[in-house]
């Protein structure tokens, strides 16, 4: 009896083992690798390079375009700051759509990293009575002013504090970034952000192939997948190459300014020194690096 039992159990075990081995090997090795892929911050240089190569190949296969994924780290001695001239913004939303194109945001379902709010001049900065849905024939409208809001890249970011998996962190140059391969999509950061700057891919993002920007940064504007959070990264793929973010370059009235807060000769420092700046929701002590000022 015992012998039979042991033989039976032996056969059972062996067949189980073989089946599982076949099943696992049959699984796509790449999918398995992706499942086990570690947090970006913990990867070594070699692992990072390999990951980027894999991604470039994957994107090329999917979209038929050559991608150039950069993982350029922060430049030494930089801390990015941004200033927006409230006296000049006319609410034309060119910045919104330039950002969409530059950063490969999903067109459907639509994601905008920048939201422009129309507010009454009489009330001043008052979110409760603002609207993002204005659509007149011409802007600016009499009696109203416009406040574009995007990620404020806070010095004391509440989103970084609450992420349960450390998928979002602030880089040494002050840009708060998201590792899209690590984010579990719990949206705690979205609940924590007081500026509504973080956006979620509720469905599979869709970017028309002919509008894809192939100059991407791993932590910035590379193509995202459903179920992850994304947000403005001060165009990290451009800023770390010395270029201005797309929103700065497109603004037709020159309301947007960008620069290195650690450089005493930068225009952003000039603004802090000579124009009176304010930050949104200052009482929350998030210490944004996105300043609003009145240039005229």
């Amino acid at each position: 009896m015992k012998k039979e039992n042991s033989r039976r159990s032996f056969i059972k075990n062996i067949s189980l083992a073989t089946f599982s081995a076949i099943a696992l090997s049959g699984c796509n090795g790449a999918a398995f690798d992706q499942f086990l892929q570690k947090n970006f911050k913990t990867l070594s240089k070699k692992e990072k390079d390999r990951l980027i190569k894999e991604l470039e190949n994957k994107y090329k296969e999917k979209y038929g375009k050559e991608f150039h994924i950069s993982d350029k780290p922060a430049l030494e001695g930089t801390l990015f700051g941004y200033a927006l001239d409230l006296s000049r913004c006319v609410g034309c939303r060119r910045c919104v759509y330039a950002c969409v194109k530059e950063n490969n945001q999903s067109r459907e379902p639509q994601i905008h990293w920048i939201e422009v709010l129309k507010m009454e001049k009489e009330k001043g900065i008052d979110f409760t009575h603002s609207t993002a849905q204005y659509n007149p024939e011409k802007v600016p409208e009499d009696g109203y002013f416009y406040v574009p809001v995007q990620c404020q890249q806070c010095k004391n970011p509440p989103c970084v504090k609450v992420c349960p998996v450390r998928a979002t962190w602030q880089e040494p140059d002050g840009i708060t970034v998201v590792d899209y391969n690590w984010c579990i999509g719990c949206r705690y950061c979205m609940a924590a952000c007081p500026y509504g700057a973080r956006h979620f891919n509720w469905g599979e993002p869709n970017v028309p192939v002919n509008e894809i920007n192939t100059e991407v940064h791993f932590l910035g504007n590379r193509l995202r997948m459903k179920g992850v959070v994304e947000k403005c990264t001060f165009c990290v793929q451009r800023a770390r190459e010395g270029k201005y973010p797309a929103c700065v370059e497109i603004c037709p009235v020159g309301a947007r300014k960008f620069g290195n807060l650690l450089d005493p000769d930068s225009e952003i420092r000039y603004i802090l020194e000579n124009k009176r700046v304010l930050v949104l929701k200052q009482e929350l002590n998030t210490q944004p690096k996105f300043y609003y000022f009145f240039g005229i």
């Binding site: 913990t42 709010l117 009575h129 609450v162 579990i184 999509g185 705690y188 509504g196 469905g203 459903k226």
Partner: protein, 409 residues
């Protein structure tokens, strides 16, 4: 291998039962299938099938999660009065309370799994293999505390049932410390969940210091309600003995909790409505609506009404001691807290959103179906576990009676 035998015998219990039992099982299974198919749509297309959007990024699922954490906490908190007032069936109370807690925690975790965008990446939250953001993130704390609570409760209940099954005396040195730990753990899980919301200064509606106390009070005034009804059923159908006075005592304790909860709510309302700052908007949306948007006004007022009626029913000794009104009150308070945690806590915090824009949220069919799926899983699990517990504790289902030759009744 005794343990494996124990598990095998327990599983056998699930397959015996009356026609009503099977009818109940089939009903739950049908709900599960209906719900599961809805959830399948969400897995393939994404969370876009829910009505959550950027403005209201947490809603029905998280509301249910919060409510169930309360149930899990309260189920075990009942152990305290059982111990203090020296109720005879304290062991049974502990077992059933913890079984309820285990099912509730499993439902909580299920709600989280269906809510996150990438459920397969849950392992990122584990320490050492993933990168747990402990102690900074309250979600990591919650995950940590809930896991420990689940393990403790599962262990106690399994150990107790195992001991009874094998006719052994359970070792007090193992059980007692764990039971004693599980009580502050119960408080801890609900407080941590409250802190989850409290940690966000950007969400003004949740930024009140009273949030955690209110959570505990509402948990304690609703959680025992299930057990109240369950004990009455057990009393009628099994050898379970519990004095009327014990049940009335439970109801009395719930009254204290309800009163505290009422007082806290009035304190919150006074602070907002008297100061009249802009923060009033969230409460206004909850109670009176903003402009034409009055979607949750019905729910918030019905929750308040149900709670008040339950409070009065439990307060007056005559209605408390009458089992009909007692049970009506229990159902009412349960419903009241469910609506309050599920809808009245989460949604007003996001309406209007941080930039003042209003997005009106109502649960989509997918969300309802998924919730039904999870609740039916929870009910199924609780049915099975209760059946096992009843068989082992009250019906002499043990190793001796299972010896070949002896028939099991």
């Amino acid at each position: 291998m005794n343990f494996i035998r124990f598990i095998r015998e327990c599983i056998k219990i699930i397959f015996r039962g009356s026609k009503t039992y099977y009818a109940w099982l089939i009903f739950l299974l049908l709900l599960l299938l209906w719900g599961g198919y809805g959830y399948l749509g969400q897995i393939t297309t994404g969370l876009i099938k829910t009505h959550m959007r950027d403005s209201v990024s947490w809603a029905f699922y998280i509301g249910n999660f919060t409510f169930l954490v309360g149930v899990a906490a309260a189920a075990v908190m009942l152990v305290i009065p059982a111990y203090i007032y020296d109720w005879k069936p304290i062991k049974e109370i502990v077992i059933f309370g913890e079984l309820l807690a285990v099912c509730a925690v499993i439902m909580c975790v299920s709600f989280i799994i269906v809510d996150i965008g990438n459920p397969l990446r849950f392992w990122h939250m584990l320490p050492f293999i993933g990168t747990m953001n402990f102690p900074s993130s309250m979600l990591s704390w919650d995950f940590f505390v809930l896991s420990i609570y689940l393990i403790i409760n599962l262990f106690i209940v399994t150990y107790l049932l195992y001991c009874i099954f094998y006719g052994k005396e359970y070792k007090k040195s193992i059980v007692l410390p764990l039971v004693l730990i599980s009580i502050p753990m119960a408080v801890a899980i609900h407080t941590t969940t409250a802190f989850l919301y409290n940690a966000l200064p950007g969400r003004v509606f949740w930024n009140s210091a009273l949030l955690a106390p209110r959570f505990l009070a509402s948990a304690f005034c609703s959680g025992p309600a299930i057990l109240l009804i369950l004990f009455q059923i057990l009393r009628k159908t099994t050898k379970f003995e519990i004095k009327d006075e014990a049940i009335w005592k439970i109801a009395e304790l719930m009254v204290y909790a309800m009163f505290i909860y009422l007082f806290f709510t009035i304190a919150e309302l006074f602070k907002e409505f008297y100061s009249g700052t802009e923060n009033i908007l969230y409460w206004k949306y909850l109670l009176f609506g903003i402009g034409d948007h009055k979607e949750i006004v019905f729910y918030s007022w019905s929750s308040i009404l149900m709670g008040c009626i339950a409070f009065i029913l439990f307060l007056i000794p005559k209605t408390r001691k009458n089992f009909l009104t007692l049970n009506i009150g229990a159902v009412l308070i349960y419903g009241s807290v469910y609506v309050e945690k599920g809808i009245a806590l989460i949604i007003p915090a996001f309406t209007p959103d941080v930039l003042g824009q209003i997005y009106i949220y109502t649960p989509s069919l997918t969300e309802i179906r998924t919730a039904v799926m999870i609740f039916s899983i929870g009910f199924l699990l609780f049915t099975f576990l209760s059946k096992i517990a009843i068989a082992i504790v009250f019906e002499d289902y043990n190793i001796i009676s299972l010896k070949p030759g002896k028939k099991i009744t």
